[in-house]
Amino acid sequence: MMLLPKPRSHRFLTLLMLALILSSIATPLVTTVLAGTPTPSEVEAVARTLYCPLCVGERLDACEIPLCMDMKKEIAKQLAEGKTPEEIRQYFVAQYGPIVLGEPPKKGFNWLAWIIPFVALLGAGGYVFLRIRQWSRGAPQAETVTSERTIREEETDELLDEYARQVERELSQWE
């Protein structure tokens, strides 16, 4: 059996295929290396802005349950892929809902949690404002009362004087 030499074009095609396969394997690796492995503090920084979806008000960085540990691994993975903290937060909101942001979702009955503090603040402010205005209006009223009282006292004095004069006149008639 005689072996025929491979044509040059075949060798070129083989090399090209090999290069393509290698590049497809290497690209994700290179991307990961370029993006860098995130440090624990970088993962913590993102975890600090998120909350455990199963616990009540527990921040992700302080949470030790299996789901929280998995979520922290997911943060590390996504940071390594070059995702921004905001993109990671949005990913978790899509997965678990706005509960991971530690705030009530702005819908239905939950709106009250957003509205009531402002309404209470406005109400309290309005009440204080009205009271202050009432007090400040109360001062001139006191003056008026005082002046009314003074007038009445003067009238009484005049009447008393007149009465005293009449008593003196009548007494002088008797003398």
């Binding site: 349950i65 678990y96 009955f109 009250l112």
Partner: protein, 179 residues
């Protein structure tokens, strides 16, 4: 000065308004708490949902009228879910060619862990993540596993809040197939 504008009448009016506002607030708070503790649906129409499946498709509950549907909420971190996983798959294999559909809803989990779980327990029935936990909210899920049995008319017939054995699950499905 009329009697309506006396300082005393103004004070009592303010008191009434403040009292009414406090009552309104307490009323709303009570209504909210009652709604929150309304409990999971155990009978009546099953809340409809569309689930994006891990394998790429979607499944809508209301499209499954005429079939008995078993909706199972689970998570990879949940040990009781692992305890019932093989039983669920076993029953699915037994009934998959009849008018029965199993739907697995992965609740509060990470996708990679969920996929690994499905592979580890050889689960083949449709499964998908409860994105944003919207389906869990409709069914008022408080933990996993929770399983809902829905009849051919789309009504919830049972809500099981614990892991189930294959025999127990068959006991729920069989009578509904005959209806």
């Amino acid at each position: 000065m009329s009697a309506q504008n006396t300082p005393q009448s103004r004070t009592s009016r303010t008191t009434i308004i403040v009292f009414a506002l406090v009552l309104l607030f307490i009323g709303l708070l009570t209504a909210g708490l009652l709604m929150r503790h309304k409990g999971r649906p155990e009978k009546g129409p099953a809340p409809d949902f569309t689930l994006q499946l891990f394998d790429g498709g979607t499944i809508r509950l209301s499209d499954l009228r005429g079939k008995v549907v078993v909706v199972n909420f689970w998570a990879s971190w949940c040990q009781p879910c692992k305890d019932e996983a093989r039983d669920l798959e076993e029953v699915w294999q037994k009934y998959k060619d009849r008018d029965v559909v199993f739907i697995g809803i992965n609740w509060s989990d990470t996708e990679s862990k969920a996929r690994a779980y499905l592979k580890a327990y050889g689960i083949t029935y449709p499964n998908g993540p409860d994105l944003g936990r919207r389906i869990g909210q409709k069914y008022r899920i408080r933990g996993v596993p929770e399983t809902f049995i829905i009849d051919k008319q789309g009504n919830v017939r049972a809500a099981i809040i614990r892991p189930m054995s294959a025999d127990e699950l068959i006991g729920y499905i069989e009578p509904l197939l005959g209806e």
